[in-house]
Symmetry: C2
């Protein structure tokens, strides 16, 4: 019975890693789509999001069955409950990648990014891609250094988000309302993406160390 | 043992209702704050959000203990898992109310709402307040008519969100970038508020009817 339980817990961990890899692919593609105005890439991100929704359902159902059939307690139970939360965050990160892809599609054949904000959005893309890769690594190896790197990426995303908004209201900014709207939303999507990555990392830190102090996650 | 379990399930239900009432108060106050530019009201929404975070922690801990100590199965287990998800949504609705209050505070002594969008934001405030009141009712009485009303409010919020964005990119719109940014974010916060209300209502519908078809909630 215990061996079966361990095998099922390992499957659950693998499902979360599969979701995280899916998110990493989505944000990588969506970043390229928004930066280069690649319509086909944007479409594929939008089409692939359904797969992530399915994976979330599979994880959630596995968690409920594991609890019902195995009646876990202690760390096992907390791991399962955390897995439910992590799957919800990963699903949401996929939605945010999809929102960005939809912006790229709406703007096509133009770019959704005005020149005034190209560097900031490029930097946000880089930070979000890094954070997504680190979430995969963290779920794979539970290395707390990786958790710390995710927090740093989120800090960068927060700073860039603030810089993007400051740029919009700075004297001399002359973007159109459509450009202002695009930048406002893109910056917000990336900033939320970072929040979810930090939320995941805090849950893993708690499972590894028992330290709940960072757990008032912004997700 | 069963009586104790039932009492604890009833406490859990009451905790969620308390959270939902808190959200209703927050969105009511924040709507008044953003529409009238009332700084004191905005401050109180910002200050009160910590209480909602505490309530979420209490609900989450209660759910974990209930599962560990009572080892529920079937509908009881699904109710507890849903309660975890509902508490996360309510906490997030509180965050959105707080974001709106912060916009009111930032703009003070001016209004964060340009005249071009006052009617739309007023309508969004009304729909969000209605949705929040209905979430309280739904958690109290699990009336499926109330669930349907929440979906209607969310549809209204989606339409208003779209109208707000269309207004920003319409010919003749002459708002400043700050106004464009404020409207973009406010409309997005209200739209997400509606999404979370629908997510909660879908979970309750599932618990009452077993119908999972509406459960691909946008939260």
């Amino acid at each position: 019975m215990r061996t079966l339980f361990n095998a099922e817990m390992a499957d659950l961990a693998q499902d979360l890693i599969a979701m995280a890899r899916h998110v990493e692919t989505a944000i990588t593609k969506t970043a390229d789509a928004i930066l280069t105005g690649d319509l086909e890439l944007a479409q594929s991100v939008i089409a692939d999001d359904a797969k992530l929704d399915e994976l979330e359902d599979i994880v959630d159902e596995r968690c409920v069955l594991l609890i019902a059939q195995q009646q876990p307690v202690g760390l096992d139970l907390r791991t399962i409950i955390s897995s439910l939360r992590i799957s919800a965050s990963l699903e949401r990160m996929g939605d945010l990648a999809e929102h960005i892809a939809k912006d790229a599609r709406r703007a096509y054949p133009n770019s959704a990014i005005p020149d005034s904000h190209r560097q900031i959005i490029e930097d946000m893309c880089a930070a979000a891609k890094e954070a997504a890769g680190e979430v995969v690594k963290l779920l794979e190896n539970r290395d707390l250094n990786v958790a710390a790197a995710i927090v740093e990426d989120d800090d960068r995303l927060d700073d860039l988000h603030e810089a993007a908004y400051q740029g919009l209201v700075a004297e001399g900014y002359a973007g159109t309302p459509q450009e202002t709207l695009d930048v406002a939303l893109l910056a917000r999507y990336f900033e939320r993406f970072g929040d979810h990555a930090v939320g995941i990392s805090r849950r893993i830190v708690y499972l590894v160390t028992g330290d709940h102090s960072g757990d008032r996650a912004k997700i």
